[in-house]
Symmetry: C2
Subunit: 263 residues, 2 copies
């Protein structure tokens, strides 16, 4: 514990690197993370795994790591779920706002499979009670998540399907860190936007005609990211700005945050 400054710095750096690849967890101070560390486990998930169904007791917070992605689905009278927001390595799902032990309102679903860190919500709440700074990080993230949902509400009200399609693809790529592909069928894209499949195909077709992307069976390859940005609404950017104000460095940047190794 009482190492010289240099050692402490090195310890801290390597300690952060050994944490799960989730920006929220990595944002915590060493002391704060130490409160959680004994209760953190990591599990692998596959696409379409369900983390919560409406009405489930929320007892575990899930932190997407690396390229994993979760979404909140709102069930609908026809049985069609509507996808609302994406959560990747910048955040967490489950009891973030409610502080747990309440019935889930939405369904939470793994969109792109991969590792998720898990912490029991009671352990997290206990840690929040012990550390103000830890509590604040989570309150700040809750605020960012709220911003994301608000923006999404507005976006669905007024932006065209073309804009929303482009937005969704960019948002997914930012979070996974994948520079140019999204593993998604037209059908899945249509469902998550809440639109008809044939129209989704047509939008992709128009993007393809303009050289913005290519389509493969089951995936979309982005060829011109700036072109896609031009066709997207600004909802992503608005949310990103709020993240930067409230939780600087947590929102994934375009540059892969992993290895800036040169040489």
């Amino acid at each position: 514990m009482a190492g010289i400054t240099m050692d402490a710095r090195i310890d801290k750096a390597s300690e952060v690197d050994s944490r799960p690849a989730n920006n929220l967890l990595r944002r915590l101070s060493q002391a704060d993370y130490a409160l959680l560390a004994p209760h953190v486990t990591v599990e692998n998930t596959a696409a379409n795994d369900l983390l919560y169904n409406p009405g489930d007791d929320v007892q575990v917070v899930h932190f997407p790591c690396g390229p994993s992605l979760a979404t909140f689905l709102v069930p609908n009278e026809d049985g069609r779920d509507v996808e609302t927001i994406l959560v990747g390595r910048e955040g967490a799902v489950g009891g973030i706002v409610s502080e747990g032990f309440l019935p889930a309102y939405t369904r939470i679903c793994v969109k792109f499979g991969g590792p998720f860190a898990r912490v029991n919500v009671a352990r997290l709440e206990a840690a929040k009670q012990r550390s103000t700074s830890l509590r604040h990080v989570f309150a700040r993230y809750a605020d960012c998540m709220l911003a994301q949902i608000f923006q999404s509400t507005a976006c669905n009200a007024i932006h065209s399907i073309e804009q929303r399609t482009a937005k969704w693809i960019l948002a997914a790529m930012e979070r996974t860190g994948d520079e140019n592909s999204v593993p998604l069928t037209h059908e899945q894209l249509a469902t998550l936007l809440g639109v008809g499949r044939s129209y989704a195909s047509r939008v992709l077709q128009s993007f393809r005609a303009e050289g913005v992307l290519e389509t493969r069976r089951g995936s979309i390859l982005v060829r011109n990211r700036d072109g896609l940005r031009l066709r997207a609404c600004l909802c992503n950017d608005a949310v990103k700005m709020h993240f930067e104000e409230v939780l600087r460095g947590v929102y994934p940047t375009a540059e892969p945050s992993s290895s800036p190794v040169r040489g």
Copy 2:
């Protein structure tokens, strides 16, 4: 303080009645409310007063009382704000999720004027630190508010303007306690739904043709509430159910909660 049981009971009842007419404040135990009471003030507002603009530091929690109504507006690139959720006497606005002292993401606007109770957010947070039960009431409300926004996101994605119009009118009436009128021009209705004015007029016209409502210059008179319910999506009900599970009795019922005085 050390009165006999009977006196205490009477004290409590009258004490609740003397609180501002906000269901969240009235839901608090006497002890919890006592922590807040010294810091509660009540102010009158007029329609279109702004409580927060995006970027403002959130320092005060506002509790709509009686028929007052606030809305969260998401600013848009064209300058058109998009209205997202309504908050009436079942809730509060400002720092509910963020716990304050962060820049506001949305604009918060008084939709229908009237009294609002105000509490400094730092005072509220201090009270939450002292009382677990008080903290839980607010965490539960935050969860309900989140549910409301999620539902709104889904609603905007898939429900028709006719359904959303009916939903909005019903939601506003539930909250104000006004049994059959909503003070709104077609223009305002259109703006808050994010649609064109002429189409909003046409939807109202069709409702009128079916005997569901009448229109006056600047207000809408509901003639057949069940008919309106039939034409609305079920989003209101889904949110209401979550309120009942999580914060029973806080969501305003159809019956005016005020004076069940007989004789």
